[in-house]
Structure formats: C-alpha cells, structure tokens
C-alpha cells in the first residue's frame, strides 16, 4: 500500500483509505478520473480548433466596437494591427489575406457543440463525484491574502492550492460560460428568441468584443497552465492526464 499512498492526492486519500479500504484506494490513487481525463482532452482539442478558426474569422474584420453595430464606416473601439482577409477593411497593409471563413465557421460551430457536450459530462460528473467540492473549491481558511501569496511562493503540492482552485473555478464557471453566452449573443436567430442575451452587454458588437477579450484571457490561462505542467514535470503530469496515474505503471 505504500506505493499507492505515494500517488494518492495528499492527505485526503489517506483518509479515504482509512474509510473504505483497499479497493477504493486503487481508485483514489488515480490523480484524475476517467471523465476528467477524456473531457480534458476533448476540451483541449476543441479549444485549439476554435482558437484557430476564431482567428481566421476574426481577420475578416479585425476591428472591435462597443454597442449594437459596427462597420468600416464607424469608428472602432480598437483595431488589431494585423492584415485583414477582406479588401473592404483598410488594415494599413497593402495585401489581403486568403479568405478561409467557410470551413472555419463550420468547424468553429462543430467544435463548439462537441465542447458543450464535454462540458455537460464534466459538469454532471463534477457535481456527482464531488470533484468540484473536493478538488476545486478552496477551503475558506485558505482565502486570506497571506495564505494565497504564501501558496504562490511554496513548491507545488499534490493538491491544488487556493490560487489554482480559484483559477480553475473562474475558467470552468466564468470564462467558458461567458464564451458560450457571447457566442450565442452574436447569433441573430438565437437573439430573436432571447434578446436579453445580447442586450445585457449593450448589443451584439459588445458581445463580439467580449468574446475576443475572453479568448485572450483563456489563452493566458492555457499558457500559465502549460507552464506549470512543464515546471512540475511535463511527462509526469501529462501521463497523469492520459492514464490517470502519476507514475508510469498501474497501481493494480
């Protein structure tokens, strides 16, 4: 059993062992449950697809507005200093990028749906298995400034510290839902049925701008996430997200 405890997520698993005996320990030893692993990789794949196709759609009009409407005859809130895939946009470059919107749009929505199904599975699993409560909800006592800055200075531990927990909660329950919401807010057919979906942002162009801003935040998260995986042992952590186990071998 000594081997098992090495791979168990911290003190919590030892308590589990005491409570439920050997069979449960083998399960508790898994760092990530099967649902978390599968939905993690589906989400990664979909995020990559949506990022690439989102950028492709974006370059057809790399200007952002606030409010209901926006077009080349209006003053943008900000413009990205990149070339565009449409000649009608004065990008400041003397060339026009190739237009790949057709398949990009189709892939963007298809990946979006797959991501929604993965999110539903993950959400139900997270509630049912206690994953959110156990692994993501920070302990109230850890939410002081002193303890959180200390956690950032500390060496990474088995269990997520309060800053990591808050970050994951913000991504899972904040940024991803916001992406879906602002995406729906850009759909004229959906907004017909639910005008407030765009209205709360002050209009469809505001929703588009937020959709872009949240993409940037998600990208910062991905960079931070991958950097931390790298820092704490890239192959070890990646293997854990594929097989569920930290070590290269099965615990059985």
């Amino acid at each position: 059993m000594a081997e098992t405890t090495v791979c168990a997520p911290g003190a919590g698993a030892q308590a589990t062992e005491a409570r439920t005996g050997a069979t449960r320990v083998a399960n508790a030893a898994a760092r990530h449950s099967a649902t978390v692993r599968v939905t993690h990789w589906i989400t990664s794949l979909c995020f990559l697809a949506m990022l690439v196709t989102g950028v492709e759609i974006l370059i057809s009009h790399p200007r952002f507005y606030w409010g209901e409407t926006g077009n080349v005859q209006m003053k943008p809130w900000f413009t990205l200093p990149i070339p565009a895939s449409r000649g009608s946009v004065n990008s400041g470059y003397n060339f026009v990028l190739k237009d790949q919107n057709s398949w990009s749009r189709s892939l963007h929505f298809q990946a979006g749906w797959l991501l929604v199904f993965a999110a539903i599975s993950y959400g139900l699993h997270g509630l049912q298995s206690g994953h959110f409560r156990r692994n993501l909800l920070p302990a109230a006592g850890d939410l002081t400034w002193r303890r959180m800055t200390a956690a950032l200075r500390d060496k990474p531990r088995w269990e997520y510290n309060a800053v990591q927990r808050l970050t994951y909660l913000a991504v899972v329950f904040g940024l991803f839902p916001l992406m879906i919401w602002t995406g729906l807010a850009m759909a004229p057919g959906f907004v017909a049925g639910y005008p407030w979906v765009a209205g709360v942002w002050g209009g469809q162009q505001s929703a588009r701008t937020i959709h872009f801003a949240v993409t940037a935040l998600l990208l910062i998260f991905v960079f931070g996430h991958v950097a931390m995986v790298y820092r704490t042992g890239f192959s070890k952590r990646t293997r854990a997200m594929i097989t569920g186990h930290e070590a290269g071998r099965s615990e059985r």
Binding site: Q73, Q110, G189
Partner: protein, 257 residues
C-alpha cells in the same frame, strides 16, 4: 487486492462503458430520425459538418421558434448605411439601372397556383411593411437600417402557394448568389421582398431594385438584386441540392447560427 476482483471490476466497467456507448449512439440515431421527421435537419446536413449544422438549426427552431428579430428605433439607424460589395457590372444590370429598373421583374414560379411576374411598381403598390432591423455579416460587422417591402408571406398567398411546399429558393441577377429558406422563415412576417430603405428607394449598393431580407439570419441570406422565387418541396435539382451557393462553398445553409 486479488487479481480476480480486479478483472471482474475491469470487465464490469468495460461492459458498462460499452453499453453507455451503444446507448449513446442509438439515441443519436433515434434523435436524427425524429429530427428529420419534424423538419429539424437542414439541407446541408451532409459530410463532416452535418452534426454542427443540424444542431445549430434544430436548436434554434426548438428554442427560438417564430420569435421576431429585434426591431430598433429610427434613431438607432446607422448613418451612413454601410453597403458591402460592388454592384453587378454586367451589361444587363447596367441597362436596368439606367432605365430606373422599369423593366425589372420578380418572377414567382414552382409550387404555386398562379405563377407570374411582378414589376417593382406593382410590388410598391401592394401593402408594405417597414421595420428597423440589423444586418449582421458573417465577417463580423453590422448595421441597422429601416427596410420597407412586401412580406414574402403575402406574396406567396397571392400566387397561391400549395400546402406541400417546403422551401422558397431565390435567385439574384448575379448567377452565383442564390439561396433558399424553409417555411419558418418564408412565412415569417419580418421576411420581406424589400423595395425601400431608410425612407427612400433601395440604393444600388444595397441590392436595387429588390432584395430579400431575412433578418433572423446573417447577411448572406439577404440576397440582393432579386429576380426569381421558386417554391418547391425539394431542393434536389437546385445546384447540388444543399439549398444555397453558400452551402456548396462550405458556409452554413441556416445562418441564424
């Protein structure tokens, strides 16, 4: 932990997962059948993008139904109104343009009792509807304008559309810009054969003399320079049967998105 326990657990898990997977794919197949029966499968549900296109279309039809597109106040109209793309430069269009579109005809044919042609003046004489709605382009830009025109549903009633009809296919003088809508949109009170914009006649840049406005979908469904409407119960025989030129190029046929 004994080996036999592990094997049994693994096998049980495997069985459970296979059953779940089988159950999942069976329900997906059943859902596809039901969706088809209730008209929730778009004509471009083919190839690799079929799941995404179908889910977009079906979810909107189920969740938004006949809900009207948002209408705005006149002071929200974008000025100047943005006109995208260049008007047709072929001799036929230039001739129409120079003669003030006096000879322009909108032909309605297909599954109708009284197929026929309407001049722009005849359409203007019919009861028209004005609405301030937004045009949103798939590229990301948008504008608001006031559109005046004959509701398509009134025109279809006038020519006696047969109840079996399922789609209206519409054509532009630009041969490659054709599209189609289902009866949800064709009979929707906001779907207009537009002849006026922002209080005046429809400008050339916005599709003069006639443009179809489908305000619950992206701009590319609102075909400019409208010449012909074909009422049909099947999209086979129109191009590749996917319902629009845009769909043949990989864009979604249903662009309420």
């Amino acid at each position: 932990m004994s080996d036999s326990t592990t094997t049994t657990t693994t096998r049980r898990n495997w069985l459970r997962r296979s059953l779940l997977l089988a159950g999942g794919s069976t329900s997906a197949a059943v859902a596809a059948r039901v969706a088809d029966q209730y008209g929730l499968v778009p004509p471009d549900a083919r190839g690799i993008w079929a799941p995404g296109h179908t889910l977009n279309y079906a979810s909107h039809r189920l969740l938004a139904g006949d809900a009207p597109a948002r209408e705005f106040t006149r002071d929200q109209i974008s000025r100047p109104p943005h006109a995208n793309g260049k008007p047709p430069s072929d001799a036929e269009y230039v001739r129409h343009r120079e003669s003030g579109f006096a000879d322009w005809r909108l032909r309605i044919e297909g599954m109708v009792e009284r197929p026929g042609e309407f001049s722009v003046a005849e359409l203007r004489a019919m009861p028209v509807r004005s609405q301030v709605t937004q045009v949103a382009c798939e590229e990301g830009w948008s504008y608001i304008a006031e559109w005046t025109g004959v509701p398509l549903t009134a025109l279809l009633e006038r020519v006696g559309m047969t109840p079996k009809a399922k789609y209206v296919v519409y054509h532009s003088i630009q041969p490659r810009w054709w599209d189609s809508i289902d009866m949800y949109d064709a009979l929707h009170p906001q779907t207009l054969v537009v002849c006026g914009m922002n209080g005046g006649t429809l400008p050339v840049g916005h599709g003069a003399p006639l443009r179809l406005r489908v305000p619950r979908q992206l701009g590319y469904k609102s075909v400019k320079y409208l010449t012909r409407l074909t009422v049909t119960d099947s999209l086979e025989g129109f191009g590749k049967g996917m319902g629009s030129f845009a769909a043949e190029r990989g864009y979604a046929w249903y662009s309420g998105i």
